[in-house]
Amino acid sequence: MRLHQALIVAAVLAAISIAFLVGRASSSDAPSAAPAPAGAGAAAAPAPLTGPARSGHAAAGVDRGALRQVIREELSAALDDRDANAAAANEPEPEAPTKANLAATKRAHAVVASARKAGEWTKADAKALRAEFKQMNDAQREELITTLFPAINRGEIKVRYRGRPF
């Protein structure tokens, strides 16, 4: 079982246990609370947490609605945490640079630097870049694309053939 699932199950069980214990405590208080005479003692009784009292439990200072709300919020938070962790777990691990992809990245940047100097992007450049791209990792590709594409879009590098950039 995954850690997150185990935590959620534990949270649910804890919430149910708390609700049960509080319910029992309230029930045992209820008979004495209900017949309490009006006066100083009644005025000193703690007020319900929220809203109007729905049962005798409110007289003991516990409101079932409030308790439900707390449990709902805790469960919701636990589920949110699980979703966030699951999303993070689906993120691909960054690939570690290797000697081969570092060399490919160096050559790819040289192609772009040469194109920038010439002010044009040729079919040969595209073919060379595509070959290097296959050996690079995602972060290296990202860095190269965010160098080349803005230069093309600003007109600093003119594409001299028809078709895709690489």
């Binding site: 690939e95 594409f149 879009n153 003119k158 950039p165």
Partner: protein, 136 residues
Amino acid sequence: MTKNKILATTIMGVLAVTATSAFAGAQYIFPVEISDNADGSGEADGAIGTARHEDNETSEIGCYIYKYGTSTTVRATCYASDADGNYRVCDTTNSALIDIIRFVGDGTWIIFDWDASGKCTSADMENASGYEPKAP
């Protein structure tokens, strides 16, 4: 062939041509257009079929999707070139944008936007009968 037969054939021919053109349906012409903003962002749009049939050698628009090597990341690139040869391009790894880009077909009207770093910020693809197919 008598004069009457020639006249009748001519009239039928004219009627046939007229009838055909009268029920051609809506046809949209969207040449490639590029709009640049001062901050390096911009937008390109155009219909694939229109771009292919424009009366110049530079107009084109398209998108492609790829994944290289052991990478788990799918990337997409959209590019466009207008009648003056201005070329614009953007890249994305955003799965929502890639889902939209997959929609590109033979007669798609493509609109895409990019930011100053060359990343695609929006993609809008429409397939409709009014767009001419790119063939031939």
